[in-house]
Symmetry: C2
Subunit: 441 residues, 2 copies
């Protein structure tokens, strides 16, 4: 039996407490798997007294996580504080500088400072593990860092935010509005009091930026992501999607194009018969498409104390199994110094199908005008549905267009043209359609 | 840059040739990721002359893989010969005994001799990696060996044979018979000339036995698996399943029960709205259920030269990233010496729902007799469908029963009773229903 691996946990919220409990309750099995014990020898949190359902009296208490990162008698620093600046950033930096391995669940920190921190880790020859930062309990980081060796990724996309997926799933299942779903999600603890960060797609963007770097060997570029949230999705969209054989999901998508890497987060229509369409509620999923492997889909819990703790403990166990002198793979798949600069593909060049829902005045010639705008921009239509149903007032009707593959620029020009024609009585709705395979034999 | 990792490939069929091509074509990126080059320095196959689309002239040729395992100048021995005895077994044993790492895609070999081979690997301090042996390109072995640390698995199940899933998918989609689907699958290369091993479930059982060991920390017990193939699945079953909201899949299932570990391979009804039901064609999928993480589902290509090669190359890259002196985790999650003996749960104690399809003579009292047999065995029914449709002759009808949770023993007794009552005009069909989550919010 080798020496114990000593870990210090900074942040004892839901995830931190869960990590401490798993390390304690599963100590015997972890020792068997790793060949040595894992001991929590230091902790740091805001309030010392609170009962967290685990005995941490054997660990040295630090009021300041940065002090713990600097001076504690630990091999691994576990950062579960959160936030992309302040003590989270500083403590991770100090831990790495002092030659300690770091495990973190902090996507915001990695999206913003991941390259700098990875640079320190690689220089010091220590590990920076972050499985829990993307898609919670789903082992997508390990899959991308280790299992994809030899594969060239063409596209990676996923449902990366449980709050949004919960809301969209309930909107479809129960026919209730976005606002009512959000209120319910808040009541049940699936959404924050200020839900902006989740529902406007920022959280998905942080996670996507990390996956993009791993997938394409490029520098993290979280600010270069096209962003659209789900707050303007209505029951009319959900019902129309369903009628057309689609379901609406908030996806993060990254793919390689001729002009660069396309990164985007927006509500997306996926075929109802695809596997990703069946990923419901707070569950997350990631699909990876490559030249050698083909398509891989991973789905599971994307949040929650235990699921996140599972990923953190897996990261710690990986370190426990390694031995001094062992040099693991690079933090973001390639050494930081060899990551390629990120070149952003223009959103206007995005190619794909589009769903366009228009509320128009019920006048002669409106439909012809819409069709003309589409033709002028060389957009061919897969389907056209026109109806005046109970949701419209007597002098309005709804026109729903589904396009064949076209470009973002063409669609924007067409919709601008239709708007300027003056027939619209409501804001036009445009939702991108994502090709999702796995529906075929 | 460290020294190159030297690998020898034994077996240059579809997978072996694909591995050689990936290692050659992706050499620069693999070197970047692993920190050192991976070189194919030795090869062994049956016919030396054949063009395999890759230049192997720099590698030393061996007619005998065992000789290569013993004497070649290699760090890693890649076994892609196949078969659970003969040169595959002997060459792996010799490679490990000589202190070389081994990567294999051979599930039959591991199912039969995995424990003995892992024992040698652990004694010699070398790695025995086998990602490609289960579910092809899906990284389920890495997930189970590494990402599940700290988790206690309650159930693992999956679609592990692409041939069977292809046949069942086409039977449902096109309404054609098992025999016609099989013939088509053979023509398209998705099924062997002798398909017994696939369609009777043996291949699934080999893979399941490996997953069971990883999931429950028990010795591999491939001979202790309840086995039922798909050859007796008819269109009547598929249609009835569909009407009831189910799809039929050949699953391998392992779960922990009070009396031991239940391992079974059989056609299974899963809810149409579950993710696993959407896994179509030759695609494989594995679902893992644990106490900490919850439910995880991985799906992707389960066979094919490239997908399998992807897993093999991932295994090689893991070795390339490690350095001399590094001690990785045990072959089957725990050290072989600490794997618990396998205790088989009795199949008669299996608990679950059942689909029972009976073809009976159209006489008064038949239905009452069936209901009585169910009641006598304390089986409560979720649904009963009785119809005389075009597929029955005039004096016959079909009765379809779906039970609530009951036991295998009760169902067998009830069906035996119904059979002895003399009303059946055809063999009764019994298909187990598997609870598959992920349909809920």
């Amino acid at each position: 039996m080798s020496e114990a691996l000593r870990v210090g946990i900074a942040g004892l919220g839901t995830v931190g407490a869960s990590v401490a409990r798993v390390l304690t309750e599963k100590a015997a099995e972890l020792t068997r798997q790793c060949g040595r014990p894992i001991l929590v020898t230091a902790v740091s949190a805001r309030s010392k007294g609170r009962d967290r359902g685990v005995d941490l009296s054997g660990a040295v208490w630090f009021d300041d996580p940065v002090e713990m990162a600097r001076t504690a008698d630990i091999d691994v620093f576990i950062e579960l504080i959160g936030g992309d600046e302040g003590p989270a950033r500083e403590s991770v930096r100090v831990a790495l500088e002092n030659g300690r391995h770091v495990v973190t669940a902090n996507k915001a920190l990695l999206a913003k400072h991941g390259l700098a921190l990875a640079g320190i880790a690689e220089e010091k020859g220590v590990l920076l593990n972050y499985e829990a930062a993307v898609a919670g309990g789903i082992p997508v980081i390990k899959t991308m860092r280790e299992s994809m060796a030899g594969n060239t990724v063409s596209r990676i996309f996923g449902i990366l935010n449980g709050t949004c997926n919960y809301i969209l799933t309930r909107m479809e299942a129960e026919g209730i509005s976005f606002q009512d779903c959000l209120a319910d999600a808040q009541r049940l603890g699936y959404a924050e009091a200020d839900p902006t960060f989740d529902i406007e797609g920022n959280d998905t963007a942080h996670k996507l930026s990390i996956l993009t770097s791993l997938a394409f060997g490029t520098e993290i570029a979280a600010d270069d992501i096209y962003l659209e949230g789900i707050s303007n999705i209505t029951q009319a969209d959900i019902r129309a999607a369903s009628d057309l054989g689609y379901r609406i999901k908030l996806l993060g998508v990254a793919l390689r194009t001729e002009s660069g890497i396309e990164q985007r987060v927006h509500p997306t229509m996926v075929p109802t018969a695809s596997v990703i369409a069946q990923v419901n509620g707070v569950t997350n999923a990631v699909a990876i498409e490559t030249d050698i492997l083909g398509e891989l889909l991973l789905s599971g819990p994307g949040a929650g104390g235990n699921a996140t703790a599972s990923a953190v403990v897996g990261d710690i166990a990986d370190i426990a199994k390694s031995r001094p002198g062992f040099q693991h793979g690079p933090v973001f798949g390639r050494p930081v110094t060899e990551l390629a600069p990120y070149t952003r593909a223009k959103m206007r060049s995005h190619e794909g199908g589009y769903f366009i829902r228009l509320t128009v005045s019920d006048r002669t010639g409106v439909f012809a005008a819409i069709a003309r705008r589409m033709a002028d921009n060389e957009i061919s239509l897969e389907s056209i549905v026109q109806h005046a149903n109970g949701h419209n007032s007597a002098d309005q009707k709804t026109v729903i267009l589904v396009t064949h593959e076209t470009t973002e620029a063409a669609v924007r020009k067409a919709v601008d043209g239709i708007t300027s024609d003056g027939h619209l009585v409501d804001k036009p709705q445009v939702i991108r359609i994502e090709r999702a395979a796995r529906t075929r034999l």
